[in-house]
């Protein structure tokens, strides 16, 4: 059962514009949501997280928004840079249980 879904396998954006990566989840017991970034032949790298009691968390060019009523979160990257090109995984974790990952979205930022 896929509790965390990233329905867009890929996204292409022009450098300098905003990238919006989306994620939906089904389990209302998730306490934390995280975004990971993955380059080829490397492991996922933690990017940003948000607690279920918040609706927004910002870190530099990265902002994560959480809409609990819609069971939806999104990652905004602005401005997008070519070095942001990678696969982005959404992940969710219920307290004291294990993390669930989405299938990933491949972001390509074109110069």
């Amino acid at each position: 059962d896929q509790q965390v879904k990233q329905n867009s396998p890929s996204l292409s954006v022009q450098e300098g514009r905003i990238s919006i990566l989306n994620c939906d989840y089904t389990n209302s017991m998730f306490d934390y949501f995280l975004w990971y970034k993955k380059y080829p032949a490397e492991g996922p790298t933690f990017l940003i997280s948000i607690s279920s009691i918040k609706d927004k968390n910002e870190d530099g060019r990265f902002t994560v928004f959480l809409n609990k009523s819609a069971k939806h979160l999104s990652l905004h990257i602005v401005p997008s840079q070519p070095g942001d090109s990678a696969v982005y995984f959404c992940a969710a974790i219920p307290w004291s249980d294990d993390m669930r990952f989405g299938a990933g979205t491949r972001l390509t930022v074109k110069p």
Partner: protein, 113 residues
């Protein structure tokens, strides 16, 4: 000074063999994990372990077993390898469980001939 390192990076072997993948973390974390990334690119938890508790995903065959000689290491042993075991295996660690971010190794690509 890699935070989470796993070896080997590539492992090619035949069906029926027994193999191990090593994982070490130098972050002082108390919890370690093994994930499998399948052909559809889903990352699925296999095991999570700290010095008190081993949690096994019920879908993982008992041919797979984690071994932790100490807090900094969690090795993955696989017996009687099957074609379906071909995947990329990632080790990770975190300080505690819950919402703590996990730090991942670069993965081991296992190919079964």
């Amino acid at each position: 000074d890699t935070a989470v390192s796993q070896t080997p990076k590539y492992l090619v072997t035949q069906m029926g063999n027994d193999k191990s993948i090593k994982c070490e973390q130098n972050l002082g974390h108390d919890t370690m994990y093994w994930y499998k990334q399948d052909s559809k690119k889903f990352l699925k938890i296999m095991f999570s372990y700290n010095n008190k508790e081993l949690i096994i995903n019920e879908t993982v065959p008992n041919r797979f077993s984690p071994k932790s000689p100490d807090k900094a290491h969690l090795n993955l042993h696989i017996n009687s390898l099957e074609l379906g075991d071909s995947a990329v295996y990632f080790c990770a660690s975190s300080q505690g469980r819950g919402g703590q971010p996990q730090h991942f190794g670069d993965g081991t690509r296992l190919s079964i001939l």
